[in-house]
């Protein structure tokens, strides 16, 4: 069910892209003065799309609109991510500066970027936190986890059955960079120790 196409798959998008001029090739000596010195290189982003019509096109626009030259799209329709979404791998050419803008644009459009270049957010880890979560400023706790470079907080569920002043629990889903799950968990452990909270970690590397 895969659909790998090399070359420029979306003519309209590619044309727009070429007009933007950032895809500098020998035949196209980069008329965009601001990026003249930066040679474009090939980047791969791995996206997670909801299985609905139009989602793929919606995800490609931020790439083309921000000067990315689409090279290939690998749409893994038969394969779903743990959240039931469809993984899509997109290769495009862009300068490194444009690349950052493209990733930001994708995220601001609500597209989940699982991997961008060497940055992978593919490792998901679920943890529980319990203790005086609310008294110890839950939003500060979450932003301190976000501030660590290894992971971001993808999802939070809170249960405070006895009110905000008693012990409550939270389930956090973290997206960690490849190989940095341990570092992310260490951050959470330190933070929890700091605030007198307890962490229930998953058994890493044990799927059964």
């Amino acid at each position: 069910m895969s659909d790998r196409r090399d070359g420029t798959p979306e003519d309209a998008l590619a044309a727009e892209d070429a007009a933007d001029g950032s895809a500098g090739t020998d035949a196209d000596p980069s008329p965009d003065g601001g990026h003249a010195a930066a040679a474009p290189s090939t980047h791969t982003v791995r996206l997670e799309l909801v299985d609905e019509p139009g989602q793929l096109l919606a995800a490609l626009h931020p790439i083309a609109d921000n000067g990315g030259n689409l090279l290939s799209i690998y749409h893994e329709r038969g394969n779903k991510t743990p959240r039931g979404r469809i993984p899509v791998e997109v290769d495009f050419e862009a300068t490194s500066e444009r690349f950052e803008e493209i990733v930001d644009a994708l995220r601001s459009e609500g597209v989940n970027v699982m991997q961008a270049g060497t940055e992978r957010y593919a490792e998901e880890v679920t943890i529980l936190l319990f203790g005086h979560l609310i008294d110890t400023d839950l939003s500060d706790t979450l932003s301190r986890i976000e501030a660590c470079e290894s992971a971001s907080v993808a999802d939070v569920s809170l249960a405070a059955p006895q009110g905000t002043e008693e012990v409550s629990s939270a389930r956090l889903r973290l997206e960690a960079r490849a190989g940095e799950t341990d570092a992310a968990l260490a951050t959470v452990r330190d933070l929890a120790a700091d605030k007198g909270l307890r962490v229930v970690e998953p058994l890493a590397g044990v799927d059964a």
Binding site: T126, I127, L128, F130, G131, S157, A159, A160, P161, V167, S168, S169, A170, R171, R198, V200, E201, P202, L203, V206, D207, A208
Partner: protein
């Protein structure tokens, strides 16, 4: 084999009752204040001694709180082949269990332990005593009750085992299982467990993770010493080396949040040749490690044989006695 059973709790009594079935003879039994020594077994070379009557020992213990009219020291001095150390686990110097075992080794007799203290807290001292003796020690019953954890690791060879983990405390597992199933809080389920006899009046040893940690420390010692080319270089573990968190504070709401996500919480112990850690951990709700009730499971990670799982009863008199008697059989 002729057995001297030291300790007349649930495990010691079951060993006394079941030894005959395994082809062994109990020649002495002691508890903390009394003993019974079979006629003739007190004298040197008492090879013709007839064993003690198991039923009479168990009846005296139940009715009068003593096992016999002899002195505990007489049992230690009796003419046995294997000393079974089944006194309650003690920490730090692990006495009096440690001395019971070394007394046997000094007499070139074997010792089989159900008492975790000496193996967890003084493994190096025990090994030194074994090196000076014709006798050997075995301690299968100290980890996972009926589950053959230690002998399986030995069969695979510790150098080919990268980690051993699992659920090693039935009381804590019962409490977590009931909390998740019934949506009840810790205190409520603990009271229920105490009524059922699953938890002791003072449950600290179980719910604070100490018991599971001792078992993991023992496994870490088996892995560390077993894998070392020279045992003198092996790292010795004690309870102080374990990173231990219990389940006492785990709120019901945490288990509910876990269940919403297809997970649950289990008190998991992990041992490698370098680390020992016991903590409540998130595991898949229907996964291998999420055993329910008082069940235990040991999961062994190997270099060439993949992952092995052995689950079963981690406590109980006859269950633990079967591990003790299995060890006695290996010493023949």
């Amino acid at each position: 084999m002729r057995l001297a059973v030291i300790g007349a709790g649930a495990v010691g009594r079951s060993v006394v009752e079941l030894a005959g079935e395994y082809g062994h003879e109990v020649v002495a039994v002691a508890d903390s204040s009394s003993a019974v020594v079979a006629d003739g077994a007190g004298a040197p070379g008492g090879g013709d001694a007839v064993g003690v009557d198991p039923d009479a020992v168990v009846a005296r213990k139940a009715e009068r709180g003593i096992v016999g009219d002899d002195d505990p020291a007489d049992a230690l001095a009796a003419d046995y082949d294997v000393l079974v150390e089944a006194t309650p686990t003690t920490l730090d110097d692990a006495e009096p269990g440690f001395s019971h075992v070394t007394t046997a080794l000094e007499r070139d007799r074997h010792a089989v332990l159900a008492n975790k203290g000496p193996v967890a807290e003084r493994f190096g001292d025990l090994r030194a005593a074994v090196d000076d003796s014709e006798g050997a020690i075995r301690f299968e019953a100290t980890v996972g009750g009926a589950i053959p954890a230690v002998s399986t690791v030995e069969d695979i060879e510790p150098g080919h085992v990268t980690a051993v983990r699992g659920v090693l405390n039935g009381t804590a597992n019962f409490i977590l299982t009931r909390m998740a199933a019934e949506g009840l809080d810790y205190d409520h389920v603990l009271a229920e467990a105490q009524d059922l006899g699953v938890a002791e009046a003072d449950p600290s040893f179980d719910v604070d993770g100490t018991d599971a940690a001792l078992k993991c420390v023992i496994l870490a010692n088996v892995l560390s010493f077993g894998a070392a080319d020279d045992p003198a270089d092996a790292r010795e573990f004690t309870l102080d080396d374990a990173d231990v968190e219990g389940i006492r504070d785990v709120p019901g709401s945490a288990l509910r949040l876990a269940a919403e996500d297809g997970r649950t919480v289990r008190l998991i112990g992990e041992a490698t040749g370098e680390t020992v850690r016991v903590a409540p951990r998130l595991v898949p709700e229907n996964g291998t490690l999420a055993v329910s009730g008082t069940q235990n499971i040991v999961q062994i990670e190997t270099t060439h044989a993949g992952r092995l799982n052995i689950s079963g009863r981690g406590a109980g008199g006859p269950e633990t006695a079967s591990a003790v008697l299995g060890d006695v059989g290996r010493l023949e």
